[in-house]
Symmetry: C2
Subunit: 279 residues, 2 copies
Amino acid sequence: MRIERSAMADREWPGCAKSLKGVILDLCGVLYESGEGDGVAIPGSIEAVKKLKESDLQLRFCTNETQATREKFVAKLQRLGFDISVCEVFPPAPAAIAVLKERNLRPHLLVHDGLVPEFDGVDKSSPNCVIIGDAAEHFTYQNLNEAFRVLIGLEKPVLFSLGQGRYYKETDGLKLDVGVYMKALEYACDLKAEVIGKPSPTFFQSVLNDMQLQAHEVLMIGDDLLNDVGGAQHCGMKGVQVRTGKYRPSDERHPAVTADGTVDDLAQAVDVILRQRGR
Amino acid sequence: MRIERSAMADREWPGCAKSLKGVILDLCGVLYESGEGDGVAIPGSIEAVKKLKESDLQLRFCTNETQATREKFVAKLQRLGFDISVCEVFPPAPAAIAVLKERNLRPHLLVHDGLVPEFDGVDKSSPNCVIIGDAAEHFTYQNLNEAFRVLIGLEKPVLFSLGQGRYYKETDGLKLDVGVYMKALEYACDLKAEVIGKPSPTFFQSVLNDMQLQAHEVLMIGDDLLNDVGGAQHCGMKGVQVRTGKYRPSDERHPAVTADGTVDDLAQAVDVILRQRGR
């Protein structure tokens, strides 16, 4: 059964693997499922990361994770058993801080408590913009209303959203993601948010720059059809979806985005890639 | 000063008042401002309602109020000093209950505790639709996530929103309204909500039916440019905006909706109407 499915996957994205020079992996839903404590590693994914690292492919991790600082969630992945280091991981918050500096903006934060330390060195007095991340339980009516009042009180309201995901899967079920609250504030204030994170082309490009590779040399593997697969394809990369995390069968007949391949999980994706490369 | 402004208002909607047979008033932001306890009556509005009732014009109240049952909030308005009775008031919840019966639907409710009794007689087992109202502090992450999970689990998800307002004004500032959370769930589930309440034409028509009047014979007065004024105009009524409640100066240069008149408050609107009618 496993062999049969792999054979199918082979036919779905032929040729692509041989010309690859790098792979970008999403984290949540691909490497692990978040939930109580550290969450759980998805079966086979620890070994799959190890195999990629042993190959001649460059490897980076690109995530819209905003519930903790980069140091904290990389440490969590290491505890789960992954061979991963901070400099290989690209989350939205450091990118947002660069934008704030560039444009001389002082943020009001509507983010998870775990992310607040990432903004320690940032001037937050008299805010002239709002940043929302995946605040989860911190998305209370009062907190959302406070962010709304800051925006509606600005002459030129600026809203940054750390990602635009609809939902993700934790061990106890689907959870609303930051994009839902981005849309809420967009409607309340009649504005368009600037997304920092996937699927923003600027964000993907910063990862490609770090790899010193061209888009067509790189494959993105994620569980989010629109933000991982569609976003990567929009930049000229290949995009493969795993059937773990937030994957839903209806993704395979989406009217706008078709993955370059759909595989059961990361382990299968890596097996196919490495076999096609003849290693 | 007062006379000068009224004279201006006269020029803005000339002639309309003489052909009127009925007036529909919004409640919150026109008669009163909500807030701690019962809120406060807007100066002059108690007398303005009295004058309209003594005139030959028919009078109804059309509201998107969904924080309490109709009986409860009419009693609150009576305590504030308004001459108003339950049968003159049209809120969304009773209209929603009629739709549920007609289409054989069982709702999951995401509404304010105060509205729950309105749905006492409604079968809520194995829900096959979601109704959201202005739940205010009850719009917790957990409650919104629960409504999301019900919708995403349905083969044909149906979302009813009791109004689509962006925000309203309470005595302590602006507050996010139900429309913001409607947009959030629309995005999360990739669907379009059905709005029950203003500006739904069906909803306005039910008030006109009760008055037995044609749309062109009726004037709507509200503080919400899009849902009161624009909604009424879309049905063929005249729409006048008051500079109380959620009114903002930018409303007077809105790209899509232009009120038939803009007045300082309900008292001024009623003075102009009755003077133009020569009474």
